[in-house]
Symmetry: C2
Subunit: 138 residues, 2 copies
């Protein structure tokens, strides 16, 4: 698993790490049942503190993306096992409306806005044709 961290970014390290792992799960690069590296080894590879990685893992556990067993480490949950919660819906709506507002201020038309949304979605799983229920990976 390759993760890249940007120390210049203004987004916290644990948030960057969280986003990258969620993306990995969504893309299928991190398969269900796979083990994430231990907090110590990942922290060592990235050159950051163990607690920063641990904070990321706690968030992932809290959101249901991984389960954590002692000694086995963090294991990726099946992608379809997570529901679309109200909290996620609300957060998504808020972020989208914020983006749409700025896009409108820059006179980006609905077409282009939606095209960018579509290409963002497809950039995560370029190979997926219709992957909603079954969970067929490859």
């Amino acid at each position: 698993m390759i993760v890249s961290i940007d120390y210049e970014s203004d987004t916290p390290l644990y948030t960057q790490l969280y986003d990258e792992i969620v993306r990995g799960i969504a893309s299928g690069r991190l398969e269900s049942g796979e083990n994430l590296p231990s907090v110590r080894s990942l922290a060592g590879d990235l050159g950051i503190n163990l607690h920063t990685v641990n904070k990321t893992y706690q968030l992932l556990k809290q959101e249901g993306f991984v389960h954590i067993h002692r000694q086995k480490g963090a294991v990726v949950q099946p992608a379809g096992s997570l529901p679309v919660t109200d909290a996620f819906r609300t957060r998504m709506e808020r972020q989208l409306e914020s983006l749409a507002s700025e896009a409108l201020c820059r006179s980006m038309r609905e077409e282009e806005f939606l095209e960018r949304c579509r290409s963002a979605y497809r950039s995560i799983r370029p190979q997926a044709r219709d992957t909603h229920e079954g969970g067929r990976e490859r």
Copy 2:
């Protein structure tokens, strides 16, 4: 102009204020050439410090949403005057991919994802039919 601030939110006050004003401009509720309230009066109305409002105005000025003249205060720039910068494109792409990743993990299909994007866009300007070039407001 009505702005609501949530003190319980984890997003900073100046960011909330920024988002609300940008939304106001995008929606047309804040028209081009209109004056924003002074930093002191808005701070007074919201019950927050003048510097917090000033920080928001500085951000808005920096991004080109308003111009600031002494004594006249902050005036809203015409909505079409802002270009789609590379910085905005990059930020939009990053946020969309992050949202799409989580949506995919929750097995939200492309249809629903795009439908939510569309409804977010339209919720900003419910009346706009095709407002791309001319800047016809009403």
